[in-house]
Amino acid sequence: MRRYIISIIMLILPSLYMVAESPLYTIERDSTLSPNERRIYKRERMWAALIPKHEILQYAGNMGLISTGVGWNYGKHNQWETELMLGFVPKYSTERAHVTITIKENYIPWRLSLGQSPFSIEPLHASLYVTSIFGHEFWNNQPERYPKGYYWFSTKARINIAIGHGIMHTLSKTNKFALRSYTIFWETSTTELDIIYKAKNKNVPIKDIIHFSIGAKFQIM
C-alpha cells in the first residue's frame, strides 16, 4: 500500500508543477496585484492543476472488463498522460465480481494532423500501468503464515506494458459537448508474469500472452 502511495505522489507532484505551467491553464500575472494576492493566485493555480483534464472509458486490457477514470495531460506538447481508473471484473466462474484500480502512464510523442481535417493520428501510445485488484483473496506480499520467500510474487498487483495507436478528433469551439477533443485508441498489452511465462516456455504462442484493449478519451479541459 505504501508503495502505491509513494508512486502516486511521485507521478502527481511533478505533473502538478508541469500542468501549472502548461499552456492549457494560465493566469496572467497582474503587476497591480499585491504580493499576497499573487501568492493566492499561485496557490489556486497549483491546486487547479489537480483538476483532471480528460476522462477515459476503456474495454479490457487486464484492468477490468470495462474501466473508467480521469487523466491529466502535461508536457511541452501534451505528450505525457497520467490516468487513474476503476475497473469492473465480472464474476465469470469465481465467487463474486471484482473491482480493480489502475494507475497508468502514457507517452504519446506525436500527433500528426490529417491535412485540413479535424483528425490527427497518434501513431504511438506507449503505456506502463499498474493494476491492483480488490479482494480478500489477493495480497501484495505473502501473508505471515508462509515461510520466507514461499511466494515471491504479488497476487494483487500486476505491472502491464502496452503499445497502441489513437485517432484524435478536435472538435469545434462551439460543439455541444463542450469538449476540446476526443480520441479513440487501441492497445496491445502484456503483464510481467506473461513475460516470465514466455521466457520459461518457448512454445507458448505470443497470442496467449498479449491482450487487446480499446477505449475512448474525452478532453474536458
Partner: protein, 269 residues
C-alpha cells in the same frame, strides 16, 4: 469522419470484440476459455472402462506448472504407449493460480488419448484459483473406483486456508470409508502435499494414519509438491508414500496394479 467510415469502424469493433478472446478483463477473472467438469467426465469413462480389469496401468504426475513443453512431451509419451488406463495429476497446474495457466495445462492434457483426473495443488489455490479449479475440475475432495480399487483424492494444502475449510477433511474421509462397501477391496490415497511437508496440517500428523487405516487394503499413498521424486515410509509403519517429480525433470510414474499387488516404473521422456 463521414458516416460510412464511422459505421465501418463500429462494425469492425463489434466483430473484433465478439470474435476475439484476447480482450481480457483480468488475469484472475475466472473467464475459462476451456473445458469444465473434467473430473466428472473422465471419472465416468475410467469407472466404465476399468470396471472388470484385472491389470491396470496408471500414470502419476504433478507440478507441471510453467513446464508446458515438458507436459506436451509427457502427453505424447503416454499416448505412444497406448496401454495407460488413466493419468492422475497430483496438483500444481499453475504457478500463480491464474485462469489462463489452468487452460494452458488442460489444453495440453486434453490431448491424452486416455482419461485423466486432477487434484488441487497449493499454487492452484492462489487468487481466484480455487474457484477456477472447482469449475474446471470439480470438488476439492473426491473419489472414484477403478478395477475394484478406490482412489481417494484429497485437498491437503492446509497452509492456503483458514479453518473454515477443513484440510484434510476428516469428515469426508470418514464418509468415504463407509461408502461403496462391496464395490472395492483396495485403496490408493492421492494428494498434493503429504504429511510432513510444510503445506500439510502437521498438527494432525499423528491423527492422519488413523483415517487412512479406515480404508481396506491401502496399497500406497502418492503425492506431488516436493518436485524431487522419492519414496518415503513417512510413519515407519510400512505405508509407502510415493512422491512424483516436477515437470522439468521429465519423468513420471507408471504403476501396474494387479490383484496380487503392484509394481512401478519411473518413465523418462
Amino acid at each position: 469522419m463521414n458516416l460510412t467510415l464511422r459505421n465501418l469502424f463500429i462494425l469492425l469493433t463489434c466483430t473484433l470484440l465478439a470474435g476475439c478472446d484476447m480482450f481480457d478483463s483480468h488475469p484472475y477473472d475466472g473467464h475459462i476459455h476451456g473445458e469444465k467438469g473434467i473430473n466428472e467426465k473422465n471419472i465416468a469413462i475410467i469407472e466404465n472402462t476399468c470396471l472388470n480389469k484385472d491389470t491396470m496401468r496408471i500414470a502419476f504426475t504433478g507440478d507441471t506448472q510453467n513446464f508446458l513443453e515438458q507436459t506436451e512431451d509427457m502427453v505424447s509419451d503416454i499416448n505412444k504407449r497406448g496401454d495407460v488406463d488413466f493419468l492422475v495429476h497430483l496438483g500444481d497446474f499453475t504457478d500463480y493460480g491464474m485462469t489462463q495457466e489452468f487452460v494452458w495445462q488442460t489444453d495440453i492434457l486434453n490431448k491424452l488419448t486416455c482419461p485423466y483426473v486432477g487434484i488441487i495443488g497449493n499454487h492452484d489455490v492462489l487468487g481466484t484459483g480455487m474457484d477456477v479449479y472447482e469449475s474446471m475440475f470439480g470438488e476439492q475432495n473426491f473419489s472414484f473406483i477403478a478395477g475394484r480399487i478406490k482412489f481417494l483424492c484429497l485437498n491437503t494444502n492446509a497452509m492456503e486456508y483458514d479453518y473454515s475449510n477443513p484440510i484434510p477433511n476428516f469428515g469426508f474421509m470418514k464418509e468415504e470409508a463407509k461408502a461403496d462397501s462391496g464395490l472395492y477391496e483396495s485403496t490408493i490415497v492421492c494428494m498434493h502435499a503429504r504429511p510432513g511437508t510444510e503445506q500439510f496440517n502437521n498438527n494432525v500428523y499423528d491423527a492422519w494414519p488413523y483415517y487412512i487405516q479406515l480404508f481396506p487394503n491401502v496399497l500406497f499413498c502418492i503425492s506431488g509438491h516436493e518436485h524431487e521424486p522419492k519414496v518415503v515410509d513417512v510413519y515407519g509403519d510400512g505405508m509407502l508414500y510415493y512422491v512424483t517429480a516436477s515437470g522439468n525433470r521429465r519423468e513420471y510414474y507408471l504403476f501396474t496394479i494387479t490383484k496380487r499387488g503392484y509394481t512401478y516404473e519411473t518413465i523418462h521422456y
